[in-house]
């Protein structure tokens, strides 16, 4: 505050008010015991706040009470949570803290990623990862140090494979590499979801965003099969669908290594017998699959991270030239999937 010497003393802010946590939404579950304080809340016990407490207006008093209540509720919930969850939460916190992502003093990266929101989301997926799908991951030692494009196959009607890969790179890679996702252009228009998407590391998939985020040294995940892969019927399981070319052009342009990933197990989590395309179109959904089970089966996931593939060439080459390079990635993933299927004993183990 001393540096804003332009401000005459009479105009200087008299105090730093304590942020009303209940209102701004940073308080709550698992947040109050943050050691080191990544979330910068002002010290409520400082003397200058004490003598000003009585002057709080009613609105602020309500906000304070709500903040305190939410802290209390968070504390109770946390102490009730099983040790297993608390340990996993702690592990995620440490690993995200040691990841190469740079945060500003308010705890955000330039794209709005926030480790606390991300951790709480990852926690849910981490429980699924460890105890429901019991994921077996190999090849994480191949991850390059700087920027990378993670290119997996896509399957399973619900995009849980994305979540499992994201957990693997945080929970099992050294150092942890939180993955950045590229979203559709209309996603930022959805209330609440847009904020959530940014906090967990997603951005809109514009070419400029993709370039910036890769040049910043981040790990970006993209599914070149898109919905074609995710919504295919059970009979076509583990048959790679047509790949989009965007990821290859991006890799060539930014000189980014591609990490091919094979996901084995995702195809059996939900068994699709058909897809009602007209209904999907009517509802504006990418697909409307008819499933035997709408709740995923407890199959075992196997993730294989391949060695990084480096490509050189002109990003603006014709589709034919780019397509040949894309086929190489596709072939590598296909090989890894077949190998994984050979090794797998059955769906569940």
């Amino acid at each position: 505050m001393a540096k804003t010497s332009k401000t005459p003393p009479s105009e200087r802010p008299a105090r730093r008010r304590r942020a009303p946590r209940g209102v701004v939404g940073t308080g709550g579950i698992l947040m109050h015991d943050e050691p080191g304080g990544r979330i910068l809340l002002d010290d409520p016990d400082s003397p200058e706040n004490d003598d000003l407490q009585p002057s709080l207006d009613p609105g602020e008093q309500v906000a304070h009470s709500l903040g305190a209540l939410s802290d209390l509720a968070g504390g109770i919930l946390q102490s009730l949570a099983p040790r297993l969850i608390r340990d996993l939460d702690h592990e995620l916190r440490e690993r995200i803290r040691n990841s190469p992502i740079e945060l500003n003093s308010f705890g955000y990266d330039p794209w709005g990623f926030n480790p606390d929101v991300a951790r709480r989301t990852l926690l849910l997926f981490a429980l699924v990862y460890r105890y429901y799908f019991r994921v077996q991951t190999s090849g994480l030692e191949h991850l390059p140090a700087g920027r990378m494009l993670v290119i997996p196959n896509h399957a399973g009607q619900i995009a849980l494979d994305a979540g499992m890969i994201a957990i693997a790179t945080v929970l099992e890679a050294d150092p942890a590499r939180p993955l950045r996702g590229m979203g559709e252009y209309w996603l930022p228009t959805i209330p609440f979801f847009n904020v959530f998407m940014a906090r967990v590391g997603g951005v809109v998939g514009t070419p400029k965003n993709a370039r910036d985020i890769l040049e910043h040294g981040e790990a970006v995940i993209a599914f070149p099969e898109g919905v074609r892969g995710m919504s295919k019927p059970f009979a076509q399981r583990y048959q790679l669908q047509e790949f989009g070319y965007g990821f290859m052009r991006l890799a060539l342009e930014t000189n980014t290594p591609i990490v091919p990933v094979a996901v084995v197990g995702s195809e059996e989590q939900a068994i699709s017998v058909g897809n009602i395309k007209p209904l999907a179109d009517l509802l504006g959904m990418p697909a409307f699959p008819i499933l035997l089970n709408y709740f995923p089966l407890p199959v075992r996931y196997h993730l294989y991270f391949g060695e990084p593939m480096e490509f050189r060439g002109n990003a603006n080459d014709e589709d034919e030239v780019i397509g040949k390079k894309v086929e190489q990635v596709k072939a590598r993933i296909h090989g890894m999937i077949q190998e994984g299927l050979r090794r797998r004993r059955n769906w569940f183990f």
Partner: protein, 309 residues
């Protein structure tokens, strides 16, 4: 070349930013300024003409003083005035100034545009560079005149290759002297936001913007430059740090309320401004930093404390 002191003309010198720029460059230039409003108690070594840019006598300043450099800050950015008058001052005033610059041999021209000209659109990239289209009129037609001014100066930039024209597009600027829409918004006790939206927002301290303008003058760079500060935070962090309380309103309610209040003159921003609290309008400032070695001096914490109430 003779080493005489260069003469600098600052339009809009009586505004907060104008005064800061005048102070920043007073040692290296002979400064004079024009403003519609008077600057009471201005320093003696600065000449201030109280005059409208659209008046005929404005040209006399160029004839008499022959400035070699011009910093153009005279824009109406608030909505209290008649929109027609606002448009005329901003666009016709700029056009007039550009003509004078071309006629009277000005060597350097700096125009203060803003990052708002890019507009806040859901599909915009996070860090827009200077080649991004000026999209503001799609959702916020009330400030399209600022985009028109920017375009006008861009044309001037290419038309007169001998004049070092620099168009600066800074992010929202905060500070003690500057009075602007974002400052007024953050100084509210209860700050309306849109429920379910919390875009990343960049800020720059007013002194740093004055420094950026000073460096532009000193380096004589030519082109369009985004000017960014120390970084970005979610809007609600900025509201919290400046001492406000965010009041999230569902969008339809917010739009109707703000529309009515604005019409009645009870709220200072038109409903088009809502998009700027929904979607990020964040820009990439690398080009300017590489060209001038500019580094902001004030941190986000210091910027917020300069407007805390």
């Amino acid at each position: 070349m003779t080493r005489c002191v260069e003469r600098l003309l600052i339009t809009g010198i009586a505004g907060g930013q104008g005064r800061l720029v005048a102070k920043r460059v007073a040692d290296s230039f002979a400064v004079s300024g024009v403003d519609r409003a008077p600057w009471e108690g201005h320093p003696d070594h600065i000449t201030v003409h109280t005059m409208d840019l659209r008046k005929k006598k404005f040209e006399d300043i160029f004839r008499r003083e022959r400035p070699s450099a011009v910093v153009h800050l005279a824009f109406v950015r608030h909505f209290r005035a008649d929109p027609m008058v606002r448009h005329e001052i901003n666009v016709a005033g700029t056009k007039r100034l550009l003509e004078c610059c071309a006629t009277y041999g000005v060597k350097k021209l700096i125009v203060l545009s803003s990052s708002y000209v890019y507009g806040a659109l859901p599909e915009s990239p996070y860090y827009m560079d200077e080649d991004t289209a000026l999209n503001v009129s799609r959702h916020y037609p009330d400030i399209r005149d600022l985009a028109e001014v920017d375009t006008l100066c861009n044309t001037f930039l290419w038309k007169y290759p001998d004049i070092a024209t620099a168009i600066l597009r800074p992010v929202p600027t905060l500070g003690y002297y500057v009075h602007n829409s974002i400052g007024g918004y953050l100084k509210l006790r209860y700050v309306p936001t849109i429920m379910g939206f919390n875009p990343m927002t960049q800020f720059l301290h007013e002194e740093d913007l004055a420094e950026a303008i000073g460096r532009t003058l000193e380096t004589g760079i030519r082109g369009i430059f985004n000017v960014t500060g120390p970084g970005a935070v979610p809007l609600k962090v900025a509201i919290r740090e400046t001492g406000g309380i965010a009041v999230p309103l569902p969008e339809p309610i917010a739009r109707n309320t703000i529309d009515s209040l604005f019409r009645l003159g009870l709220y200072h921003l038109p409903p088009g401004a809502i998009d700027f609290v929904k979607y990020p309008c964040t820009i990439d400032g690398r080009r300017f930093r590489e060209a001038t070695n500019f580094q902001p001096l004030f941190t986000l914490e210091e910027i917020f404390s300069s407007v805390r109430h």
